[in-house]
Amino acid sequence: MKENSTIKSLDPRITRADIPKDGQLSIDIKPLDQWQTYEVFHQEKKGDHHSHVGSLHAPNPEMAFLMAKEQYARRGRCVNIWVVKTSDIFTTNFEDEDMYTTNDDKMYREAGGYKVMDRINKYKKEHKKKEAVK
């Protein structure tokens, strides 16, 4: 009876799991069964800024770290990890995006607006020449 009603697979683990062929699993998922999300920040080198690498599910910060380590620091360099509950992050709305725009006529407030690059480039050029002469 059981033989015919469960999924047979080339993957022996699936066969062993006795999954009904009709796909009806007797699992009752309630709203709070889902863990909250945490945001993960990693640091590649001591002294570097931590940068956001993604999010994950965990029931508490300790376990969030456990998951973060394998999720985001398994490959590549990492010396430190921060995990922060997503709900603890205060964020602005995208509807208010317009408050971040700077009007074109205020270029002098931006670093790129300073008209010194010509002078810097001139100095660099001269300096290089001198080095070459030496």
Partner: protein, 262 residues
């Protein structure tokens, strides 16, 4: 055999070292294979990835240990891993059992990895350099493995009524099997006298202290040592009914063409 191949060990010491490494490597290979059975079936995606990654680490440990045997004149890692039958395997019974439910697998992971970490810590001071070097290299990886195990035991031991009951049952089930990790070999004296390894007895007592502490913090009750019979035999080639089917499954692809280049 040249003395170089034997790292300056006597014949008896060589036998002892090979036996020790084979026991350790077989444990790693079988637990790694078992735990990898959770890949794709883990309780949640994040844990699935973490547990699978650690299973892969275990296979890496097995390979590194088999490689040491290879430098001592034994066949290469694949041949040792995939061409023996159960009588020639020296893993303990704990690692052979099917994965069961996640409570069983997590409890086994804790009990095994705690012993593994203590064993490798002891081996960082081994007079046999290849083992000492490997042990030092594995320190960071094992730190994460044991941290993962400790946090899960604590989380589930103190979680809900159901998780607590399940973890206690898993502990009662795993404990006698875990004691089988420390089944003494015929070489205990040789190993400790030559400073290669301080022995299963010491390992077990350190393991007991750590295990007792973690279980107490997790509201779980460690069975009385005198009330259980350790599951011995694995270290001598006597196994549970679960090992041979696992070996058959594990070597199924390899056996189709042992000479194939992968």
């Amino acid at each position: 055999m040249s003395s170089e191949k034997n790292f300056g060990l006597s014949e008896e010491q060589t036998k002892a070292v090979k036996n020790l490494i084979l026991r350790m490597a077989d444990d790693e290979l079988i637990i790694g294979h078992r735990n990898s059975e959770w890949t794709g079936l883990g309780p949640i995606l994040e844990e699935d990835i973490a547990f699978s990654s650690m299973a892969q680490d275990k296979l890496g440990h097995a390979q590194a240990l088999y490689n040491i045997l290879h430098t001592m004149g034994e066949p290469d890692a694949d041949t040792i891993a995939f061409t023996r039958n159960e009588k020639n395997f020296y893993c303990c019974h704990l690692v052979e059992y099917p994965i069961g439910d996640y409570d069983f697998s997590i409890m086994r992971h804790f009990l095994f990895d705690t012993a593994e970490a203590v064993r490798f810590d002891m081996l960082t001071r081994s007079s046999f350099q290849p083992l000492a070097n490997l042990a030092k290299k594995m320190r960071g990886e094992l730190k994460y493995h044991t941290m993962h195990a400790n946090i899960w035991i604590n989380q589930l031991g103190k979680g809900t009524d159901e998780s607590h009951i399940r973890m206690q049952k898993a502990l009662d089930e795993c404990f006698p099997l875990a004691l089988g990790i420390f089944e003494p070999s015929d070489y205990e004296n040789v190993l400790s006298e030559s400073g290669i390894f301080d022995g299963e007895k010491l390992l077990q007592s350190v393991w007991m202290d750590i295990t007792a502490e973690v279980m107490e913090k997790s509201n779980l009750k460690l069975p009385d040592l005198d009330s259980v019979t350790p599951s011995y035999g694995g270290r001598k080639g006597f196994h549970t009914e679960h090992l041979q089917p696992l070996l058959d499954e594990m070597t199924e692809v390899y056996a189709t063409d042992p000479t194939a280049e992968w």
